[in-house]
């Protein structure tokens, strides 16, 4: 039997894992390989169940927070503070009629919400929960996250196409335009923590932050870009064009009822929490905090606190900003976020190299100051460019009727026009 005192209360989950292995091997006399497989399966199921249970709480939290932002009370009938509201909702969804519309592609229609949920739950495999606890410490963690989010896009397109409904199809088209576009600045912004840590492994990135500073200080621009583009990736307000209820009713999940609809909701809410967890891991130091290496169970607490902080900002922006228009959405991405992400990457690489070359003995504080001021410089430069081109546009607008249309369109480009002098039409595919 594994010795509990060797693990201590800080490593209690590792102890359970070893205890299970000991039980399978020496009590049930299973071969070591089979015991290992069972151990891994139990760990996977535990982590997956943990991830799937999160939305029960976060849905309540989000409704409560959104209500407060809108000067309401929110759910307050079922249980204390309305805490049981989500359970009531789940039971209601289970009791609803399960409709498959005529002309729907049954297999694809039923498979789509499943793929959606799977694409979110599997992200939790690489998120380090504590210094000793990570599902799979693979050396391509960041790339894995990017790849898995591609599966989520496919799920939404499957659901939108197979519903045999024009609004659902429109939602799926918008998905393709939005999610594929916002992936570009997201991946470039993700390269900044990879560059700083010198590794693509999630656990390595957190360790690097624990040994120096959190990357929100070293790369604030990349952190903000990653956060905003991730919110766009999950299709939340202000980027909820895939389900814009005032335009295309409910978008890709319009025909879904009952628990299949519930699975779409589950994947959306869990995805929102997951991007908060990714932001916390990549930029807020993950599980790092006082005594987190000595007692890994504390790391889980720090990780959850940081994740809920980031999640609060997601909910905050959701209930604050109005929905962005579809042509603004794409010009904001291609003319502002993508160049800014490239700029942040180049600035970080150059500043890092300069510090290494000219200040060989520089400590972490020095490096953080240098990288932070480089980021501030970048932001100042970008705003100066925007101001200049806005001034030009205004001068052009005062010139005559002909340029007015041009200038108006440019201003509509959300200040992203500094990279492109000519106006570009809104992509036809997005409509």
């Amino acid at each position: 039997m594994p010795d509990f005192s060797k693990y201590g209360i800080g490593n209690i989950f590792i102890y359970f894992y070893e205890l299970l292995g000991w039980f399978l091997k020496s009590q049930l006399n299973l071969p070591a390989e089979l015991a290992g497989v069972i151990q891994t399966l139990v760990a996977i199921v535990t982590l997956g169940t943990f991830a799937l249970l999160i939305p029960i709480f976060t849905i309540w939290l989000e409704r409560k927070l959104a209500a407060r932002f809108q000067d309401r009370l929110g759910p307050n009938r079922a249980g204390p503070y309305g805490l049981l509201q989500s359970f009531a909702d789940v039971i209601k969804l289970l009791g609803k009629e399960d409709i498959t519309p005529t002309g729907a592609d049954k297999w694809v229609y039923n498979l789509a919400p499943l793929v959606g949920v799977v694409s979110v739950v599997t992200l939790w495999a690489v998120i380090p929960l504590a210094s000793t606890m990570v599902g799979a410490n693979i050396n391509v963690g960041v790339l894995y996250v990017v790849g898995i989010s591609g599966l989520g896009t496919i799920a939404i397109m499957m659901g939108g196409w197979s519903s045999n409904n024009k609004f659902a199809l429109l939602g799926a088209f918008r998905t393709a335009a939005q999610l594929v576009a916002y992936e570009v600045p997201m991946i470039i912004a993700l390269m900044v923590p990879v560059l700083l840590a010198g590794s693509m492994g999630m656990q390595d990135i957190v360790n690097a932050q624990a040994n120096s500073t959190w990357y929100i200080l070293m790369a604030p621009v990349a952190a903000l870009l990653f956060f905003i583009t991730s919110v766009a990736e999950i299709g939340r307000a202000p980027f909820d064009l895939l389900e814009a209820e005032s335009e295309i009713v409910a978008g890709f999940h319009i025909e879904y009822t009952g628990m299949k609809f519930g699975m779409w909701m589950l994947s959306e809410f869990l995805h929102a929490f997951t991007i908060a967890a990714l932001t916390a891991t990549l930029f807020l130091g993950g599980w790092h905090g006082p005594l987190s290496s000595e007692a890994p169970i504390l790391g889980i607490v720090y990780f959850l606190v940081k994740t809920f902080l980031a999640y609060f900002v997601v909910v905050w922006s959701r209930s604050t900003f109005p929905r962005i228009r579809v042509d603004h959405l794409l010009s904001l991405n291609w003319k502002f976020f993508t160049p800014l992400a490239l700029g942040a990457l180049v600035v970080t690489a150059v500043a890092q190299k300069l510090v290494d070359t000219y200040l060989p003995g520089a400590g972490d504080a020095m490096r953080t100051v240098a990288l932070f001021s480089a980021n501030v410089l970048l932001v100042w430069l970008v705003f100066e460019l925007i101001r200049r081109s806005a001034r030009q546009a205004r001068a052009g607008a005062e010139g005559g009727y002909e340029e007015q249309g041009e200038a108006h369109h440019e201003e509509a480009g959300h200040g992203g026009h500094e990279t492109q002098a000519e106006h570009s039409p809104a992509p036809a595919s997005a409509h």
């Binding site: 390989e33 391509v140 790849g147 199809l169």
Partner: protein, 169 residues
């Protein structure tokens, strides 16, 4: 049989079945979805071979980018080719013959080669594989020239795509 051997057989079988479904199904969207399944199981094979970077790149590029574009294009041509088109032409037996001959040739070749003992790969190499890949791609002794040429080619393709698709003045 070890667990990884069983896994390999299962994955390979499912991959082959999905690949056959890609070319035999009449519904184009279904074919595209099975194509995604095929590509995904190829990625699983890479994982079984401890080639994590290849697996992730496979999913990011083929599923995340190419397959999504294929589906997007097909959604615009909803059920155009579903039922009327004939899937084979009069020369199907010739194609089958060539395929069978190629299969026999490859299988014979695999069977005949001596398979010299490959160098054993230790865990440290697998852990550092990405670092080694990056060093190889950027060092003058490695593949920096092909890497740069490929980058320029891709940039040219990007600019060309914008020029072709852009608004004509």
């Amino acid at each position: 049989m070890t667990v990884s051997q069983i896994l390999f057989l299962v994955v390979a079988a499912v991959m082959l079945i999905s690949a056959v479904l890609v070319v035999t199904l009449r519904n184009l969207i279904h074919a595209a979805l099975w194509l995604i399944a095929t590509l995904f199981f190829v990625a699983v094979l890479y994982v079984l071979l401890d080639a994590g970077f290849m697996a992730a790149a496979q999913v990011v590029l083929y599923i995340g980018a190419i397959a999504i574009l294929i589906i997007f294009a097909m959604m615009l041509t909803r059920r155009v080719m579903a039922d009327e088109t004939v899937q084979i032409n009069s020369q199907w037996w010739l194609g089958g013959l060539v395929a069978a001959a190629a299969f026999v040739a490859v299988a014979g070749l695999l069977n005949a080669s001596a398979w010299p003992g490959l160098p054993a790969v230790d865990d440290a190499t697998i852990t550092n594989s990405i670092k080694m890949l990056g060093t190889q791609l950027t060092s003058p002794d490695g593949f920096v020239i092909p890497f740069q040429i490929a980058s320029i080619l891709l940039t040219v393709a990007l600019v060309g795509a914008i020029a072709v698709a852009g608004e004509k003045k």
